[in-house]
């Protein structure tokens, strides 16, 4: 993954004189913040055999809430708290539909996607939420000992998710569910609780992402987050997490996000219109899945499975 990232950077540096500038590096990292946070949650969801295709639009909803709070109250601290809280709330809604309602995650979140998209339209009344006060921005774009607050937030989120995944019973249960829900149940794992919690965790991470989004852009437009879910799924499976569940890599997700953003940014700089970005994402997804399917069909893989 690291090699692929470096390779992409080298190619784009050769192709575009604007590419290898520190300003552009900052832009790429800046554009990765939301996707990194959402990607961590998506990694957990996919590892569990779940998915959430509405996650980008959920971020949009939270961003509207945060934006409203910033402009009404002006207190940036309230806005910072409200992001993860509203995110958790929406995570509960998703969990209620998928887990308690026993709806397949992909269909259920597709339904939510439709509902939420209209909700955003109604909430925004067809206009942008713009000209937000800079209080939140001032707070979140500062640096502590030269490191941006966003980097700290991502590091803490990464560490928390990693600990939960690799060092607590929750992580084991999550992977067991991703392997087989039925077997997990037979093993005495509280399947409903774990699945519910994972959607809520993903919601919290999305809420934090929304807070950073509002802080950075200081506006919320109608199409907010519409490609984020696709990007997140692409980044996560690019990083080695199985779309079928049971196996995941958090560090892979980080590199997956960076690679995706490097590609999107680089293609833009060499003159590919941004309309083509979802094509790149889609091709990446299909490429990874195709590769996985092909490598499962190789004689060696069959031999390995036969032994297993």
């Amino acid at each position: 993954m690291l090699v692929a990232c470096l390779l992409a950077i080298v190619i784009f540096s050769v192709a575009s004189p604007h590419y290898a500038t520190s300003g552009n590096a900052v832009t790429v990292l800046r554009n990765s913040v939301e996707l990194l946070l959402i990607g961590l949650g998506m990694t957990l969801l996919l590892a569990m055999g779940g998915i959430d295709v509405s996650i980008g639009i959920v971020m949009g909803l939270v961003a509207i809430a945060v934006g409203r709070i910033v402009s009404a109250d002006g207190s940036p601290f309230l806005a910072i708290i409200s992001g993860p809280l509203v995110g958790a709330l929406l995570g509960c809604v998703t969990a209620a539909v998928i887990v308690l309602g026993r709806v397949p995650a992909i269909v259920g979140t597709l339904g939510l996607l439709g509902v939420y998209r209209t909700a955003i339209f109604v909430l925004l009344g067809g206009q942008w939420l713009s000209g937000l006060p800079s209080s939140l921005t001032d707070l979140l774009s500062t640096t502590v000992i030269g490191i941006p607050v966003a980097a700290f937030a991502i590091a803490i989120a990464y560490l928390a998710v990693w600990l939960a995944l690799r060092r607590t019973p929750y992580g084991l249960h999550l992977l067991a569910i991703g392997n087989s829900e039925e077997k997990a149940r037979l093993s005495g794992i509280p399947v409903v609780k774990i699945r519910f919690a994972t959607f809520v965790i993903s919601g919290v991470l999305t809420g934090i992402a929304a807070t950073f989004y509002v802080a950075t852009y200081r506006n919320v437009e109608m199409t907010i987050g519409s490609t984020l879910a696709l990007d997140a799924i692409a980044a996560v499976i690019l990083g080695g997490t199985s779309i079928l569940g049971g196996r995941c890599s958090l560090i892979g997700t980080v590199f997956g996000v960076l690679l995706l953003r490097i590609l999107q940014n680089g293609l833009l700089l060499i003159g590919v219109p941004s309309l083509w970005q979802p094509v790149v994402t889609g091709v990446l997804i299909l490429g990874v899945l195709g590769f996985e399917a092909a490598s499962n069909r190789l004689p060696l893989a069959r031999f390995r499975r036969a032994r297993a």
Partner: protein
Amino acid sequence: MTAPFLVARNIAKRFGALTALANVDLEIRSGEVLALLGDNGAGKSTFIKILAGAHRPSDGEIVIEGSPVAFSSPKDAAASGIATIFQELALSENLSIAENVFLGRELKRSILGVPFLKRKEMRQRVDGLLQELDAHISDPEAPVGSLSGGQRQAVAICRALNLNARLVIMDEPTAALAVAESRKVLALTRRLAARGCAVVLISHNISEVFEVADRIVVFRRGRKVAERLAAETNHEEVVSLITGAHPDVRALEKTN
């Protein structure tokens, strides 16, 4: 003779109009391997599902060490010390042996209210269990997906032992195994009994049953038709009990 660990009295199970099981009386003793034999549909599986808490009996009672129990879920049965090793083992292939053995009952320490896994202790415990069972698995960190069928049975048995199971029910443990692997699993079965566990073994393989079982119970058409000490019967008699050719079974089926 010690008191039995579990007594099943007059157990019946009906699914609508279909009677899957009727009037089954059975005693299961600690330290003993009890084999359940019978044709497909004879009621063996239904019976062990009742013992495992997966089905509720329509009639009859189960008494464990003198006190009646009523299981409403496999969890209840597990709490009473009954572990079932199903044919399709409920192991997570993507997790390690140690993780599987402890799955759902992990050892943990609380740091700031967050439960963290005690990986080292779990590993050591599993190491010990594997050695005790002489299971020939060197690395408890290996994913279960990389193990052979017999090794997976050993992991499932470790899991049962780790849950302090007093009765281990094994549903056709050797059905999918090669001969050498079957040998090992049968040896494990004996070692379980030697540890003081009660073992109920379902099998279609009669010579295997004679190798490990102390007692043999034959089911036929939802009833228990015979119970023999393995030492006091032979292959031919058991086959005739299963097929219904045995005079005892004929007499029994005439009266019903």
